[in-house]
């Protein structure tokens, strides 16, 4: 058993704090204050992960001579760096776009790293990048190098002999043409760039490879590709395989031995240990792995095995063993390996190979090729045995949620579905943080909507791609498929990849195909309540032809489907529906009749995807809608509002909203408070959409796909597509922002009237290699707004009880915008006696009782006061009487500690005086000096004997740690700590013990008094005779003064 110091593991009890807005507001000013990200100031989001399933990884690079330093690029979750082999990671790219295309470390200058943004595994849900970035300090600071409009960058290769020479493969836009495509080269470390290879605006550079010995030999794959909402095309006349032997000045197309006809995506690797050997996966009518033994001049097809040629748009990856040129790895749907130069492939997973499917990155250690990092749709794995077995990195919270829901438990749980990682439920907070093990899988496949049945805690609804609906039973683990099927005479149902599946506030289940269907019996039966609500355009329904050279019909391109459904919280007969092909449909009679309203929406391009409709809870005719056309190359955010059931619409988007819009939400309390989630973050308006500002409080520029507002807690819950779930705790202060507040030099902002955690404890030593999501701080918040930063003069917050007694003083937070400081709702710790060791149990003061407290803020010469109310935890099973008894007993022990503190100090002080006098007398030559010295020393010894029963006195190198000495102080503190960490009735034994300890303390006090009264007067008379100062007993006042000064 490990020996540890006694640790007072106590989650401090917290109470609700309801600050009333004080009179500090100044009158409204004429000019409007603009809001910006700093307006929300210290209101921050909590990342709760999860990381146990992680998310799609798009790129990995590591230091060749120190593989414990690695960078991981997530498809939609930024760049993460580890310097300890993946034990811990930190995000180093949060200020930039989160979609990562490629990462290349300059191995000659390990602090220099290049990142190309914009994922190049161009699935339907991929995000967009913002150019090329470079760091020269290991990721602390990044410089945008250019290519801002490139959208996606596929590969960066540095000349192994000259770090100033860098090749960048710009793949370019997925959903539109782009002039910035092509292969670029710099010879001055990125200051100037020359495009050295270009085909056309529809053809990007998808891959490059350099000959490590002759770096002027460059191979490049050019790829023509395009996505539309309803189809994907890979291949075309622009796709070519090219080679240069003069560093890109001149090029020639490689054809000898390669497939005839149009080509698709080409992936190229030069064997590091034999550079005349080049491997390439070439997509064509007959795709395959090709091999050239003559520097690319001529090629031989060596394999067309399934995993080698499957989904080139998603798996354009290939890796050659750094030492064995015949050992070829093909990451794909799974991982396969060839040991014979590509002729035959087999699975390397002999030892188990339990890894997520869909592999996008494989880094092989050049000095130890058995060691590798593998990036998948489900995170990063490490192998030390040539991919036989793997360790999973459980610390990358790059999970890609589509939607989020909540329940009403305490703490409430959150639900959501993820790209290729099923559906999950987990707690919104936990005293020791939200950990991987707290999450439960409740659905499989690609998850989207997942939510609980409010009528039955055991039931969780979820779905997987293409409208496959599931009903999960928590207690038994059973899953029932509940999707609707067409009835006789009905056409085949078209379900979107991300099929809308919701439970309305009236407890009706809805699912959308091209029709709207509903169920009132948990999905056991379904009723169709609409005709086809889409454009039903047959040209957009040819998914069986999607994919181009490699047919790929996974339901990801299903189109002409319903995407958004919203039943009015005010009237269940009012239902709004939005479709992916741009219809906004409304019924006001529960589905009998429908009206397409999209023609009423001004300045909206035709057929723009309806990403969200939000019916107002304040007015039945009011609704909000977001549209986005990124899959046709239109990245603008569209946010509209109607107040007349869709007859007229007003755009409420401004330039402050960045990125195409996924979701709009109206606050549950303040109808002017609106939230919009876009591909690049979260945006808020506090005035009904006139002004918007990005919310940046510990939230990276990540795609916010869904937003939920918890009705009880007032929390905003964010489903990010790339960084898991976030919770913004208690938005009450944001609800209170008005122009009056924005103009105030200082204004209190109300917090939620909620109640928090009972004390809990936990013990575990599980290492550092797992992500732990932030838990809700178990403390009360005090929130205020300041128009400007406080810099000069005093600034403090004092908490006073109902009798105006000062309980706590807290340093104030100083920033512009909203400040939020926490108070532990505890008294100051007892002034414990000084002993050889620290009494750690006495570090924490008793919880203050429930009730109303005053918050007094002193800011320079101004003071502001507000009221706060603290209430008990509603989960508490303890009666008010029991809680009171607990508080009284804790206070009794608190006072005993303080009494003991004074007593021990007085004894020690008197003892020191006696010793001092003894020393002085000893130096005298008088006759009775020896006798008096002995008397004084005897008195000092008797005092010390009493003190030794009060506190630990045994000192030494480790005595304080493991000396085991336990005196009265230690026993009182232990009892105090035990009572202080439980919010209910003390045991009878504890109360009896408190009485026993009190008597012992009383006895020690009496013994001291006895010693003093028996001896001190006589000693002092003799001392005075020798003109020495008498020994004085320290008074309580003197003790308090000394304590205050220390």
């Amino acid at each position: 058993m490990p020996i540890r110091p006694y640790r007072f593991v106590l989650s401090l009890v917290t109470f609700v704090l309801a600050l009333t807005t004080c009179s500090a507001l100044v009158s409204a000013q004429d000019s409007k204050v603009k809001i910006d990200s700093n307006t929300f100031g210290a209101i921050e989001a909590r990342s709760i992960g999860p990381a146990l399933m992680s998310g799609r990884i798009s790129a990995i690079d590591a230091l060749e001579n120190k593989p414990s330093t690695l960078y991981v690029g997530a498809a939609n979750g930024g760049v993460w760096k580890s310097t300890n082999g993946g034990t811990t990671f930190k995000p180093v790219f949060d200020k930039n776009t989160q979609s990562i295309g490629c990462i290349t470390i300059d191995q000659a200058h390990p602090e220099t790293v290049w990142v190309g943004t914009g994922e190049v595994w161009v699935r339907n849900s991929t995000s967009v990048g913002g150019g090329l970035f470079k760091t020269t300090d290991g990721g602390d600071n990044w410089t945008a190098v250019g290519f801002a409009k490139s959208e996606r960058i596929g590969r960066i290769v540095i000349d192994p002999k000259n770090s100033e020479i860098v090749y960048v493969a710009v793949l370019g836009p997925l959903w539109s043409s782009g002039e910035e495509r092509g292969l670029y080269k710099t010879t001055d470390g990125g200051k100037n760039w020359e495009r050295i290879l270009y085909v056309d605006a529809n053809t990007g550079c998808s891959d490059i490879a350099l000959d490590p010995q002759e770096p002027n030999t460059v191979y490049a794959g050019m790829w023509q590709f395009r996505r539309q909402p309803w189809t994907f095309t890979s291949g075309g006349p622009g796709s070519t395989f090219q080679k240069s032997t003069d560093g890109g000045k001149t090029w020639k197309k490689l054809t000898k031995g390669l497939p005839e006809g149009e080509l698709g995506r080409i992936t190229i690797r030069v064997a590091p240990s034999r550079p005349n050997l080049v491997y390439a996966v070439v997509e064509a009518k007959e795709s395959g792995l090709y091999r050239s033994d003559d520097l690319g001049e001529s090629w031989t097809k060596v394999s067309s095995s399934f995993n080698v040629i499957v989904r080139p748009f998603y798996f354009g990856v290939l890796a050659i063993d750094p030492k064995d040129y015949n050992r070829v790895y093909k990451p794909g749907l799974t991982l396969s390996v060839s040991k014979d130069g590509g002729k035959s492939f087999s699975s390397p997973f002999g030892g188990g190979g339990n890894v997520h499917s869909d592999h996008h990155a494989l880094w092989i250690d050049p000095t130890n090729p058995a060691h590798m990092y593998l990036g998948t749709d489900g995170g990063v794995y490490e192998s030390f045995d040539y991919a036989n077995t793997f360790k999973f990195m459980k610390n990358l919270p790059v999970s890609q949620f589509y939607h989020v829901a909540y329940d009403m438990e305490r703490p409430y749980n959150v639900y959501g579905g993820l790209q290729d990682n099923g559906s999950w439920v987990g707690p919104s907070t936990s005293p020791s943080g939200v950990q991987n093990r707290d999450w439960r899988n409740v659905g499989f496949g690609d998850g989207f909507w997942a939510f609980p049945d409010p009528a039955d805690k055991n039931i969780v609804f979820s779905e997987y791609q293409g409208g496959k609906l599931l009903r999960f039973h928590r207690a038994t683990g059973e899953v029932k498929a509940i999707q609707p099927y067409p009835k006789t005479g009905e056409p085949k149902f078209r379900f979107n990849w991300n099929t809308p599946f919701k439970m309305s506030e009236s407890k009706t289940l809805y699912v959308g195909s091209q029709f709207l269907l509903r169920s009132t019996d948990r999905g056991d039966s379904w009723e169709r309540i609409s005709e086809d609500l889409t454009t039903n355009d047959p040209e957009k329904q040819k998914q069986d032809q999607s994919g181009g050279l490699s047919i790929d019909n996974s339901s990801a391109e299903n189109h002409c489907t319903i995407f958004a459904i919203c039943e009015s919280p005010l009237d269940p007969k009012v239902i709004w529906v939005g479709t992916d092909d741009g219809n906004v449909q409304l019924t006001q009679d529960g589905g009998k009749t429908w009206t397409n309203l999209v023609k009423n929406i001004p300045s909206l391009p035709a057929n723009t995807w309806v990403s969200c409709i939000e019916a107002s809870r304040f007015d039945p005719g009011t609704a909000y809608a977001t549209f986005e056309g990124h899959q046709t190359g239109d990245m603008k955010p569209y946010v509209y509002k109607t107040t007349d059931f869709g007859k007229t619409w007003t755009s409420i988007a401004t330039d402050s909203i960045k990125g195409f819009a996924h979701v709009v939400r109206e606050d549950l309390v303040n109808k002017k408070l609106l939230f919009v989630g876009t591909e690049f973050g979260l945006f808020l308006s506090v005035d009904g959409g006139e002004q918007w500002a990005q919310f940046t409080g510990r939230l990276p520029n990540v795609a916010v796909r869904d937003i939920a507002i918890h009705p009880r807690e007032g929390d905003v819950i964010l489903a990010t597509h790339g960084r898991g779930l976030y919770v913004i705790d208690d938005i009450t202060p944001i609800r209170k922002i008005t122009q009056d507040v924005l103009n105030a030099p200082f204004a209190f902002l109300e917090n939620r009237p909620s109640v928090i955690a009972l004390p809990t404890s936990s013990q575990e030593f599980s290492g550092n290699d797992e992500f732990v999501g932030d838990g809700l701080a178990e403390a009360a918040s005090i929130t205020y707004y300041m128009k400007d930063r406080h810099q000069i003069g005093e600034f403090k917050v004092e908490i006073l009880d109902s009798e105006n007694k000062l309980i706590s003083t807290i340093p104030a937070s100083k920033r512009r915008g909203i400040n939020r400081i926490t108070w532990q709702m505890r008294m100051k710790p007892p002034k414990s006696a000084s002993g050889a060791t620290l009494a750690q149990g006495a570090f924490i003061g008793p919880a203050v009782p429930e009730g109303t407290y005053t918050v007094k803020v002193t800011k320079g010469k101004e003071t502001y006061t507000g009221q706060i109310k603290l209430v008990a935890d509603p989960r508490s099973t303890h009666s008010a009487e029991d809680r009171k008894l607990q508080q009284q007993t804790v206070m009794k022990l608190y006072q005993m500690q303080e009494k003991l503190g004074y007593l021990a100090s007085a004894i020690q002080d008197a003892r020191e005086q006696a010793q001092d006098r003894a020393k002085k007398v000893k130096e005298m030559t008088a006759k009775d000096a020896t006798v008096l010295t002995k008397s004084l020393e005897g008195f000092a010894t008797r005092l010390e004997d009493i003190r030794k029963t009060l506190v630990t006195t045994r000192e030494g190198a480790t005595a304080g740690y493991i000396g085991g000495e336990e005196q009265l102080r230690e026993r009182i503190v232990e009892l105090y700590a035990n009572l202080n960490s439980y919010g209910g009735r003390p045991t009878q034994s504890q109360m009896d013990s408190a009485g026993v300890l009190e008597k012992e303390l009383e006895k020690a006090d009496q013994e001291f008094n006895k010693a003093v009264s028996a001896e001190l007067e006589g000693l002092n008379t003799k001392l005075q005779a020798k003109k020495l100062d008498p020994v004085k007993v320290q008074t309580k006042e003197e003790y308090d003064k000394k304590e205050k000064g220390s």
Binding site: L12, R789, I810, R815, W823, L838, Y961, S1046
Partner: protein
Amino acid sequence: MFRKIALSVYAAIALFCLPALAQSTAPAKSDLSLDEIIAKHAQARGGLDKLKAIKSIKMTGKLVVQGGALEIPMVIQAKRPDMFRMEMSLQGKTQVQAFDGTVGWTISPFMGKTDPEKMPEEDTVQAKDQADGFFEGSLLNAKAMGKTVELAGKEDVEGSDAYKLKITDKKGDVEFEFLDAKSFLTIKSASKRKMQGNELEVESFPGDFKEVNGVMFPFSLEQKAKGGPAGGGAQIVIEKIELDVAVDDAIFKFPAKDAAKEPAKK
């Protein structure tokens, strides 16, 4: 926890160190030159003459942790040319960290150990650096301390415009000082410290500036790990600053064993 306290104290000291002035390379979008910014900063503090004239300083205050749940009284003393000592007291025990210009040492009695110990080399190097810049800061000691300062542009610090100054020491270690663009007082410093081989990125936010003998001093310092939650760090609150009080050099020196048993009384 005690490690955190120790760090906070280092930061408290660093807070009084001003950035070094050296050759300006101003690369950034700033309306002022580095020299102008430094000059305005010096002026905002009360002027270089007044800073240079200070011979010793004693700061009395407390370290506030866990949202005010625990307050640890502390005293920091420094004396020219390069001596300092700080003490923190808890339950009558006093933790000491001190540097006499050559030797850095500590007494860490919180686990019952009362013998003074010399600091490890890396801590001594830091102590030396802090001691050298304790008064007017490395601003006037740039050459002696071998530090260079660059203007790294303007940046938003918690909603305020700030000039970002990059300070590089002889080893190439970098820290950043952010000066409020209106007051020219420091509103943030950010450094990456090596603690036992690990990198620790700490951000400090000084505030509550008050004048003492014509010189502006921060009376509060919030400190947190980079990227940590708001309010998630520790706060130092200074209650009193005394300048040029008599102080014996002996308190900075590595004590003889007997003296160490009873740390200096206040």
